[in-house]
């Protein structure tokens, strides 16, 4: 707990010690750690002097927060209207099948995590997939494998195993 407090000290700054900054602080913690752990939420609660349940209540209300770690390459499949009409759901299913994980899950090697997002605002290029900071336009199920290989070449996987 103390160690975590130390780690989060650059986020939990005295000028942010106000109830209204709760969401901002949680966003900062998530940016740093990739997700909100129970311990991190308790640290934030203690910092703001509010019950842990309040922090948990807020965190679970908003879609942005996640409670499991994010993969090294977070995959977000857009499920906005334009992407849906252009077959976004098939892309999501192909992604889940290819990575062999459920939506919201993470691969055992922590390389990829898979999430659906409401709309990334690139409707003209639908359907889109976001992996890390890159946006992949006009996706199709056959393109899924191709894209995943460019993000993480197959050879890399083997060398890691060795």
């Amino acid at each position: 707990m103390e160690e975590l407090k130390q780690k989060l000290s650059d986020i939990l700054k005295p000028d942010k010690k106000n109830r209204r900054h709760l969401i901002y602080l949680l966003q900062g913690v998530q940016r740093k750690s990739g997700y909100l752990s129970k311990e991190a939420m308790l640290v934030v609660a203690e910092f703001l002097d509010i019950p842990g349940s309040t922090v948990y209540g807020i965190a679970t209300f908003y879609n942005q927060f996640r409670f499991t770690p994010l993969g090294k390459h977070p995959v977000k499949v857009c499920m906005g209207t334009a992407c849906h009409l252009a077959g976004g759901k098939l892309v999501l299913e192909a992604m889940a099948r290819e990575l062999d994980i459920e939506v919201g899950g993470i691969t055992p090697d922590h390389e990829f995590s898979l999430d659906r997002v409401a709309c990334v605002g690139c409707c003209a290029l639908a359907p889109v997939v976001e992996i890390g900071d890159s946006v992949y336009p006009k996706m199709t199920p056959p393109k899924v494998e191709e894209v995943l290989v460019t993000v993480k070449p197959v050879g890399q996987e083997q060398s890691e195993k060795q």
């Binding site: 908003y62 334009a82 709309c119 409707c123 199709t140």
Partner: protein, 633 residues
């Protein structure tokens, strides 16, 4: 610094770039441009310019609204035409640089057209006929000026409205906004001037101004483009609003999913402060106002005004009952004005050009222009700005270019999850607040999504209900439970378990949700289902009575089938693409799909070479010849 001096400096900066002796290159690097590959193009241009020792300046601009033509590069040359190039790749960069930056060859085969307008008027491409149907106010600078340089905005007339406003009485400004007929662009269309007046009259020494940039509607991206391309107009509008109502603090609540817009807003606020246009004692007037950016955390309901205020307070964004209205008791219980991004952006124009000018645009009840995000199956996806009252037909066919791949138009979804789907017979509907509401849709935030014969209307209704049901904050039981039941019924219909009485049940439930929900989002949640039942009843009936999806979309009601006489036999595309090994080759060399293994992902159809086009979809699945799999397989 006096404003005259600021203007002079800005003009000098602008002229040095846009009227200099060297060629000036503009590259659109808003989010859509980036997704299409604009950043590698910028890199290639910089490299090529350096390699060729070319004296040229490169500026990253926002988006002119032609998303399907991105990346877009414009070369402005002294004493010659400004030429736009579309779908630019790093590969063609050397050709363009050689041709038009260094030489006088405009490379017409790569060019889209010339860039006209600008300098305070809307920038446009005269070769594209769509611009004849547009009326650009908010988009006038988008894709033309550098959003990261406040001087560009000021040189094109920016902030003179603020100076003008600071010399007038706040009541006079409110009067002008009232007279202009401006209505809120967030969707509901409440008269802006009246909102401001009520807030001004409310008692309290602390008042707030909030800009709603929580564009949560899936399929809408106008606010993002405005903020990424010309953020200063929004900031100027907010400062004028604050002066009019007597607020000292302001917030921009923006989705965290828009990192580039946030970044550009931060830069814009910083620059405005540096010039004394924002902050303490603005331009020596004695009026102080500051703006803080608050990032949303991803909840659709945060876009509702009372909910948004709770989100800023760090609470759950759940709408509350009104009264009291936010103009009397809003953020932290203080009088608050909350408007949409675009609403604020109109304000400087109304102050500069006059209330009468603005009220002369548009229709009886809806003044000015409307910005729409065109998406879905349209040819020209992107942004469009038209005068209120323009018909949907003009928007979709004259500006949007009609439906892609020559397919037939089926419906237009307008207004997002709160809006509705309108059929071809309703295309003469003018786009304004009142006409759209009458048709069963709403103006909403302005997402316009065209659907063709390949889109299923029941599936579309299900999509929106699924969205709403997930995003319902849970406060009102009609919305929380009602939308879940509506979704279950639609789920049943799309999987072949529908009953004919389900349609009446959906309508009944929809009316209860409309009547029993507190906020606008809940009250309009049934719209997508109600409008599709109203206009596309036959599609519902096909799903229910014949277990058939006419658009061949609903998975449980379709099957993929390879036409034996079209299959080329020698090619293995579908076999290799199938993720579940459901395709086998029979003794005649023809590919056959094992229906029991098929997951209906559609990969085989996508990869089947177009010259064979052997994979088709059938609905109901019983149409697949029964002997097929067994006999030949």
């Amino acid at each position: 610094m006096s404003f005259g001096k600021i203007q002079k400096q800005a003009k000098a900066d602008w002229d040095s770039q846009y009227h200099g002796k060297a060629p000036h290159i503009l590259v659109g690097t808003a989010t859509c441009g980036r997704a299409a590959g604009a950043l590698p193009v910028v890199e290639a241009l910089n490299k090529e310019l350096a390699n060729r020792n070319a004296r040229a300046k490169l500026t990253e601009v926002g988006c002119i609204g032609l998303c399907s033509l991105e990346p877009l590069v414009t070369i402005i040359k002294p004493d010659s035409f400004a030429v736009c190039y579309n779908n630019v790749t790093p590969q063609v960069v050397p050709t363009i640089v050689e041709g038009y930056v260094l030489g006088d060859d405009p490379c017409l085969d790569l060019a889209l057209g010339t860039l006209g307008g600008g300098e305070g008027d809307a920038a446009y491409i005269p070769e594209l006929s769509r611009f004849e149907h547009e009326y650009r106010l908010l988009l006038r600078n988008c894709g033309y000026i550098d959003p990261g340089n406040i001087n560009h905005y000021i040189a094109n007339g920016g902030y003179s409205s603020l100076v003008n406003a600071l010399h007038r009485e706040p009541d006079a400004i409110i009067e002008a906004i009232k007279k202009s007929g401006l209505r809120g662009r967030g969707g509901a269309g409440f008269p802006t001037g009246r909102k401001w007046e009520e807030c001004r009259q409310a008692s309290g020494d602390m008042k707030y101004v909030i800009c709603n940039a929580d564009e949560g509607d899936p399929g809408a991206f106008m606010d993002r483009v405005v903020l990424e391309s010309d953020p200063q107009q929004v900031i100027e509008g907010m400062i004028i609003a604050a002066y009019a109502v007597g607020a000292r603090e302001g917030f921009i609540y923006i989705r965290a999913e828009y990192p580039l817009a946030i970044e550009r807003l931060e830069v814009a606020l910083e620059q405005a402060k540096k010039l004394g246009l924002l902050g303490k004692n603005i331009l020596g007037s004695g009026f102080s106002f500051d703006i803080e950016i608050v990032q949303g955390a991803g909840a659709f309901v945060s876009g509702e005004s009372t909910a948004l205020m709770y989100a800023i307070e760090g609470r759950r964004s759940m709408p509350r009952a009104r009264p009291p209205h936010s103009v009397r008791a809003g953020l932290w219980g203080k009088p608050t004005v909350l408007n949409n991004v675009k609403t604020y952006a109109y304000v400087p124009l109304i102050i500069a050009r006059g209330a009468d000018w603005f009220s002369g645009l548009g229709t009886e009840g809806s003044k000015g222009t409307a910005v729409f995000a065109l998406a879905g199956k349209m040819v020209n996806t992107g942004l469009a700005e038209v005068a209120m009252g323009t018909t949907l037909h003009e928007l979709i066919f004259d500006i949007g270019g009609g439906i892609q791949s020559g397919k037939k138009f089926k419906a237009v979804q307008i207004g997002g999850p709160s809006g509705g789907c309108l059929p071809e017979s309703m295309l003469r509907t003018p786009v304004d607040f009142d006409s759209l509401r009458k048709a069963g849709a709403i103006m909403g935030s302005g997402g316009v999504i065209a659907m063709d014969e390949g889109n299923c209307m029941v599936d579309t209704a299900k999509f929106f209900l699924d969205f709403i049901q997930k995003e319902s904050c849970g406060k009102c039981s009609t919305c929380r439970i009602g939308t879940k039941h509506m979704l279950d019924i639609l789920e049943g219909i799309t999987t072949g378990k529908g009953r004919i009485e389900d349609m009446d049940l959906l309508v009944e439930l929809g009316e209860d949700i409309r009547g029993g929900s507190l906020c606008g989002l809940g009250r309009t949640a049934p719209n997508p289902a109600l409008t599709t039942i109203r206009y596309f009843r036959d599609e519902y009936e096909a799903h229910i009575l014949e277990k058939r999806c006419p658009a061949l979309v609903c998975k449980e009601l379709i099957a993929y089938y390879i036409l034996p006489d079209k299959c080329e036999r020698g090619c293995e595309h579908c076999v290799l693409a199938c993720p579940v090994e459901a395709i086998v080759t029979n003794e005649k060399g023809i590919k056959v799909i094992d229906q029991s293994k098929c997951t209906k992902c559609g990969s085989c159809q996508l990869v089947c070479p177009p010259e064979y086009n052997a994979v088709i979809r059938l609905s109901p699945p019983s149409l697949v010849p029964a002997a097929d799999a067994k006999d030949k397989g």
